[in-house]
Symmetry: D2
Subunit: 351 residues, 4 copies
């Protein structure tokens, strides 16, 4: 595990802190940053664990890193070039303004800066936005589509897990006019870690095991994120249904997308669309034959995409799999960091 001595060339290293470092996303971030060759971990902030050692909260870290959780304050991050925020939505927007004023780069893993329209935010997050003036400058951190804006951004809104799993498979076929922009159905399945490290009966083992349930049907906060991002990428309106389901697995998202074909299309045409847009992407793997499985992407930053033309119902079916904590959160955040600071984009992400 990385420490000052492990960094190959200290002159090129940056110092990064994590606010909300003891949740699942924050902890995954800590794991990834610990094996990154050009990052020095500066501070870890976690209100509920202030003063505790990381290895006492997560024994996984024992024998690897001697780190402690601190109390967050704006002054406490003075030594950092970059601040990751892995807080519940609504909390990030209260600390981001001061961070930007101090000239820090910020990557927010939560949902506070992903929607450009504060009214849409209010509708789906059920509370007012306290820093709407920052929404225009926030860059949606989906490297495959926003790489150049990410490079110069000060504030990255790191995409949600479901949106990552839905936007990446859909964008190329929408952009190439292969499928209709309306009537899209997105049926997603998520592991329980997506709900965060929470103490509620709803996510207890005995309630989740040997069961499945859809939830927040038609109301999930990722609906406008998927829709507006697809519209931004493709430059035209999109209408879709998104339904998330909770599964008895710890990690992983599986997304099944059903869209009407806009024209006569073959498997090769679809393959070509993915090749055109993702042919050089280091973290997107697509195939016109293989069907994705969560186990192939878990603990990795990869997105696996497979698809079938289903002529009987004139549809394109696309299937995608990601690890919700990696490409769906911490891994993608590090990918964004790598782009922002000019590191190799895969640094720390191919272990």
């Amino acid at each position: 595990m990385q420490n000052t001595e492990g960094i190959e060339d200290l002159s090129t290293a940056i110092r990064a802190s994590i606010v909300g470092a003891s949740g699942y996303s924050g902890t995954e971030l800590l794991k990834i940053l610990s094996r990154h060759n050009f990052v020095k971990l500066d501070k870890l902030f976690a209100n509920s664990s202030v003063g505790k050692r990381v290895k006492d909260v997560y024994p996984w870290f024992a024998g690897r890193a001697e780190l402690m959780y601190d109390q967050y304050s704006i002054d406490a991050v003075d030594s950092s070039n970059l601040v990751f925020i892995a807080l519940p939505s609504r909390e990030a927007m209260n600390i981001v303004p001061a961070l930007l004023e101090r000239g820090k780069k910020v990557i927010d893993l939560g949902g506070d800066f992903r929607l450009k329209d504060p009214k849409l935010y209010e509708k789906f997050y059920k509370h007012q936005h306290s820093a709407p003036h920052l929404l225009p400058q926030a860059v949606f951190g989906l490297p495959e589509w926003n790489r150049s804006a990410i490079r110069t951004a000060s504030l990255i809104a790191n995409p949600g897990c479901y949106p990552t799993s839905a936007i990446l498979p859909l964008a190329p076929v929408l952009k190439e006019g292969i499928v209709e922009r309306s009537g899209i159905t997105i049926s997603s399945l998520s592991g329980v870690s997506g709900a965060g490290r929470s103490a509620t009966t709803d996510f207890s083992f005995a309630e989740v095991n040997e069961s499945v349930r859809a939830y927040k049907v038609g109301e999930h906060q990722h609906i406008p994120e998927i829709k507006t991002s697809l519209e931004a990428i493709t430059g035209a309106p999109v209408s879709m249904t998104f339904v998330p389901h909770l599964l008895p697995i710890t990690r992983g998202i599986y997304t099944s997308i059903y869209a009407s074909l806009a024209k006569s299309t073959t498997q090769s045409d679809v393959l070509e669309a993915f090749r055109k847009h993702y042919g050089n992407e280091p973290f997107i793997r697509f195939s016109d034959t293989a069907i994705p499985e969560i186990k192939n992407v878990n603990y990795t930053n990869f997105v696996d995409i497979g698809f079938r033309i289903y002529t009987d119902n004139n549809q394109l079916i696309i299937l995608s799999a990601i690890d919700n904590l990696v490409k769906g959160a911490a891994g993608q955040a590090v990918q964004n960091m790598n782009i922002m600071f000019g590191f190799n984009e895969t640094e720390g992400l191919l272990a």
Copy 2:
């Protein structure tokens, strides 16, 4: 557990045998019949286990029933009024003709008699039908829609697990003209017992656990069963996409259905449609508020149905949950038997 002494009135009891009694469906059937007050278990046939005691293959039965597996022959079922067949598709059609000739009632839990068109059968089951002359008389055993035909049938084609979970939620809203007949999407999730008791790496614990995969995309043999059954019930063409997914659970099917609204519709309108068709059904539970969960139906013969109007994409979303081995197989078979022989329809099915 039932035995001759336990039957309340022997004069009203029937004698039933099971062919293929050692697979998961056959075993579930055995469990249910064992607590049925008007059935005397006659013979259990299971090629691979001939001569073994049931309790040695399934220790669950120890201390309950002293039964053995026999070798099937047409003469061996002479003493039975009813024969359940729980064999892989393609095997049932070889023994059904002789059974019907001997005047036995037959309930086939497999797929051999569910499609009326032998060409469609051949296309999806990948082999020719050997008894196409019996297809016209086979009754699709979905009690909620075919009760009167079931009552007098000699040969019941017990519905597949996915079809049961898809047809029951869709039929009322199609019949009432609430949703369009085209562009329907059915995304289903199944537990591993649906694949039968097979020894393949694909279904081994280490391959299935902590993963999800879609399979047989656009090719599953339940596609024509769902489509033709919905067409038979509603009297008009239906076009749809069906994609099954394998989950790390043992039992249960969760089906999410996405259909375009055909007219302005409210939650109450949908509720009314379900009430109209299923208001008196003993095994269908529907709600305009609750979302189904597999754990509520596992080990039961219930179908749970929930729904949401999603106006942003002009869709009706319907969610259903069943136990694939009960309402999706053995439970529904017993429900059919109860109807055929004039027993209370819930007998043996509410433990």
Copy 3:
């Protein structure tokens, strides 16, 4: 599901209430009593769910039983012959005295009345006993060893889940002098429902899945229950180690027992010991060849026992499996009730 009409002969039926009816044990009890032919469910008490319908808290009950949760008071159970208590330890002892004064029969599924010595109770349960005067009359409800005392008892202390899984396999071989009374090791594995329906991170799916941990090593409150019960049954001191482990399963306890042989012993000798003591027990299944598995006993009231003489270390290894919510709680409570009220001991317990 049972209701007044379902009871075969109302003149022989009793009325029973459950205090703490919305936890896992209370709910399992409700399921079992609902299919019991001689019990009329009177009242269900559950503080946190007062005024709610059972089917809204547990949709499993929809279409089966129309029951509500009430607020407990001593007057509210006036119409009951029998009161089951499924409360956390420490709460039962506050309501039992008044119940006994009113002449109610009481079966307590918790730990408050299982230890005869209030000091031992205080040591392991970490609080004082408020009704120590009732301890002498409480009967430890292990039917296989206390059947005649149970028959006439007013207050039953229903055994704990781990103790049931440990005492039943050990008692015969201790009593027959097959194993030494000291140096016994009991290593138990439990599903998560054993921890009750609690909202803590410790039992969340993402923390429990794909892991195992020992807990309360040397401190578990079932230690004195196992020890004193074995001593009561065998009439001599016993020394043992008991370590429980938490597994990623919902239901079931697997207990592995290691004891030193006291004399030259064969598999047949051990089989004979079990036959002598349990040959006529309806819920104990033992074998000198088969090894127990949890799946064979889940959702049943059976205890499965297997064993091996291991001569290299001069030990007898005994393995047992139960369902922690049935034979380890609600099922055994109903078995006790059946004995107390003269019903067939298996009534309601062989579904």
Copy 4:
């Protein structure tokens, strides 16, 4: 992921091949070696997959490594310095002699060279040893106890998963005379990947999920490995019972050890024993307070050890957790390789 270009200094790199590269252990080895800075993967041999690309058998490797499976022959490994063998027991002993003759270093992950006595091998592995003359020179590859012998060995017998989890916790307390050498009980729990990638009903999801079973009670081939290794390390006879159990988890072993105290001992004394022997070990983490959990070690090469003095039964209880595929197989094999070739012992093992 490693390739020729990724190796930091080619002059110091070695070339390694894997025989049996498509099983679970072989695949884990491939993952670890792919991130090792001083190993060039030479050939991968896997009979059943000859000619297939690794990424087609394990899509996890897509976008990482372009490797194929070859047919093994002695000539095909001519370019390798080191050959790992991850074959089922009985197959390794047929190819090892020729490899050693050609001057290759060999690390065998199977059981063929772990027992010094060919008669003991025959008794537990149920077939004759074909290369007993090599047994004396084989070094049991447990780095914490055999580091200097490993350094110069040509043939390493990589320890079994259960033995690793049992020997490491026991050796220090035996060596320090803290516990008795007789009457030791070792109760182990294993994930399903320990059984290898096999297609049998016994390990299918539907059979393993929601269950637990002990197996090979008193007969497991790891019994003599644990016993003779402990005797070799401590220089005196050891008698013990070992019982393995199969759990519904994919990876991980949890071992609970119960041993009689040989003298008056405190927690600190035990801590001191571990400190003395393992204070500088990079992969052993021990604590006198924390209790191990599998999730803390999964996907790592760590062994976690916790313990309690249980005075009531005069026992020391020790608990350990490892990942069966890493420290229990492939990780330990790489640790051995690192020692043999003078690399940093943790190289490739701290990702």
